[in-house]
């Protein structure tokens, strides 16, 4: 008798566990309830500089979607969680959102490590997720429900190299940080030959480095045609200009924010970025977003805000297409396909789970602390 009870207990527990896995979508059955979409962002810690503007973009998208009637007549409600720039916290928050809050889809996180961690629980159950960073390690190629609203680093690298080639750069130097910078640098070094560019001195610095003058001094001695700078602060650009180097600086999209540009001071003059939004001179289809963002927050948005805005809108469109009660696999399937975003044209069915093409980048140059859109355009 005791054995039977134990067997039943195990069976019941297994059943409950199974329900736990399939339960999150099935739980939202009341048609008057808002459709909950989970959002995981780094709102504190080192990544807060990315998380806070992303939250603003997402909240604006939520407001606009609800003002336009929501999804099939139902409002959406974003449930925002802070991953504290920590993969462990991101994982806990994702579990809570999916199995506790019973959201129908996830937007975020941003950092690669956090996205990979969360993908570990969303991918096995085909739960729809749009990360706000680009495709990370190879394991993500197998995760067909973890989409990316930002370009993979090979595209960022190619976009930088293409511009350098247009300037006639042959010998380049690179100054990159130990995190994001290293990932982009690996791709730059891989593709440089295709663009006829050779890297000479390449120097690395810590993400939170307060000074990179020794590295810049070494670059100065090598007299490159142009300098590629990849990081998340204005420190390396300042170091280069403080040493009176006049070469063109091509910086990665991660530095194309007003905050980082302000921290560059006068050194920002002439720095070029491949990116997606120049609020001073937006593309015609981006003007409404820029105006709405300014009206909401009293300041101009940049690519980070726009990418987050696109992520929520793309996911909401997929939920609408599949139907909010269709289940996670159906929503995931509905996400796969082209999407005309504010930032660029996406194709979430592409192998890199984002489908951003090189001609989807725009280029900006800093003049007097303002971003100026350049006429340069990649031919894809």
């Amino acid at each position: 008798m005791r054995r039977i009870d134990r067997t039943r207990l195990v069976a019941a527990a297994s059943g409950l566990a199974l329900l736990g896995v399939v339960g999150p979508v099935a739980a939202q059955t009341n048609a008057s309830d808002p459709i909950k979409i989970g959002v995981i962002l780094p709102l504190t810690g080192a990544g807060a500089g990315l998380g806070i503007p992303s939250r603003n973009g997402i909240l604006l998208a939520e407001k606009q979607i609800n003002a336009a009637g929501g999804i099939k007549g139902r409002k959406i409600k974003v449930v925002i969680e802070d991953d504290t720039t920590n993969p462990d916290a991101a994982l806990n928050k994702a579990n809570n959102l999916i199995f506790g809050e019973k959201v129908v889809a996830l937007v975020g996180p941003i950092q690669t490590a956090n996205t990979v961690a969360v993908g570990g629980i969303t991918a096995p159950v085909k739960f729809p997720q749009v990360a706000l960073g680009g495709l990370g390690p190879a394991v993500e190629l197998e995760r067909k429900c973890v989409f990316h609203a930002a370009p993979p680093q090979n595209q960022n690298a190619r976009a930088m190299l293409a511009y350098a080639k247009s300037l006639g750069v042959k010998n380049a130097a690179a100054l990159y940080d130990s995190g994001y910078g290293t990932v982009v640098w690996n791709q730059l070094s891989k593709f440089a030959g295709e663009y006829g560019i050779k890297f000479g001195v390449t120097e690395k610095f810590e993400i939170a480095a307060t000074d990179t003058t020794p590295q810049a001094a070494k670059i100065r001695a090598s007299q490159p045609d142009a300098i590629f700078v990849i990081g998340v602060t204005g420190v390396p650009v300042r170091a280069i200009r403080q040493l009176q180097m006049k070469q063109p600086i091509i910086a990665a999209i991660g530095q194309a924010t007003y905050e980082i540009v302000k921290s560059m001071g006068d050194a920002a003059e002439g720095v070029v970025f491949p990116e997606f939004l120049v609020p001073e001179d937006p593309l015609p289809h981006q003007k409404a977003f820029v105006d709405a963002y300014k009206a909401e927050y009293g300041r101009a948005p940049k690519s980070i805000e726009s990418i987050a805005y696109d992520a929520l809108k793309a996911m909401s469109q997929a939920i609408g297409k599949a139907g909010p009660e269709a289940g996670n696999e159906a929503i995931c399937a509905a996400m796969r396909g082209p999407y005309s975003g504010n930032s660029t044209e996406y194709d979430f069915s592409a192998p890199d789970m984002t489908g951003i093409k090189l001609n989807g980048f725009i280029y900006s140059k800093l003049v007097g602390g303002h971003f100026n859109r350049l006429p340069f355009k990649n031919a894809e």
């Binding site: 120097e203 810590e206 000074d211 003058t213 020794p214 007299q223 602060t233």
Partner: protein, 295 residues
């Protein structure tokens, strides 16, 4: 160009070393006066710099007035932390590790407060002087870097004089070395500890104001500054301002030479391996017993 590389590397090593020393001064002062390893020292610098930036840029106050208020903000923050928190910990006879955990917590809290109140942007102050650039041995020398070097040296000697020659400095040291003994000869131990934190806050703010024309200061900068300042202070003997300068210069120049001769990827590995060796063979720091005793 090789001459330029060597001289530029050495110059940046000296400048960075003195930046570490400036932060190390405050760490040394608080360790000397309260025997607390203060992980929030870099945050004093961030607060001082951000306050000056706000007063200067947003309110339009003259630089000198903004700098004085920036130093006072560091002093006020130091006093507040002692009066509101440290006194309670002392009254409850908290062990040493509690103070370390406390300062880590306050460091994170101040960083979050700066993010909340002043945003995520990096703050930059105008350089002291006319912002001239000099070319010396093919190296670019900013006028502000010379001011930073000069003020650091003056501060070092001023602190040395303060601790060795003034009654207040000696009272502060005595109150930390033997609180009971100091109390029996009429020294107000509590007041001395508060003054220690005030001094630490002012030194942190001065460091922040001097650093910010060179390094953009944001909510993220405090901890990295503290770590380098700690390294400088410990290497020099932890309680001696002269030691902090010696330690800072060793770290700064070693970093610059590693970048120049090897790859920057190995900068921290080689630098900190060097520091480990120094600490193994010179466990009392670069200045030996003099460093520990305060020179």
């Amino acid at each position: 160009m090789l001459l330029g590389l060597v001289s530029q590397s050495l110059l940046s090593g000296v400048t960075n070393g003195l930046i570490y020393a400036l932060v190390g001064f405050g760490i040394a002062a608080i360790f000397r006066g309260a025997h607390i390893a203060n992980v929030m020292q870099g945050e004093f610098s961030v607060v001082g710099a951000v306050v000056v930036d706000v007063l200067l840029v947003q309110i339009g106050m003259p630089y000198w007035a903004a700098a004085i208020i920036g130093c006072l903000s560091g002093a006020a923050l130091g006093a507040l932390i002692d009066v509101v928190f440290i006194r309670r910990l002392v009254a409850q006879k908290a062990p040493d590790d509690s103070y370390l955990l406390f300062t880590i917590g306050v460091s994170i809290t101040i960083s979050a407060a700066v993010l909340f109140l002043f945003g995520r942007e990096g703050h930059l102050l105008p350089p002291i002087g006319s912002g001239q650039i000099f070319i010396v041995l093919d190296a670019v020398v900013q006028e502000h870097a010379l001011w930073l070097i000069g003020i650091s040296v003056i501060l070092m000697f001023a602190l040395r004089y303060f601790y060795r020659r003034t009654t207040l400095g000696m009272r502060m040291s005595a109150a930390a070395i033997d609180p009971d003994g100091a109390a029996t000869i009429g020294i107000d131990v509590r007041a001395m500890r508060t003054l220690t934190f005030v001094l630490g806050g002012v030194l942190g703010a001065i460091a922040g104001i001097l650093i910010t024309p060179i390094i953009p200061v944001s909510y993220m900068v405090g901890l990295p500054l503290t770590l380098k300042g700690f390294s400088a202070a410990i290497l020099g003997g932890l309680t001696n301002p002269l030691g902090a300068v010696a330690g800072g210069l060793v770290i700064g120049i070693l970093e610059a030479l590693v970048v120049m001769q090897m790859s920057s990827a190995y900068k921290d590995v080689v630098t900190f391996s060097g520091l480990i060796l120094i600490m193994i063979f010179m466990p009392r720091g670069l200045l030996g017993r003099a460093g520990r005793a305060g020179g």
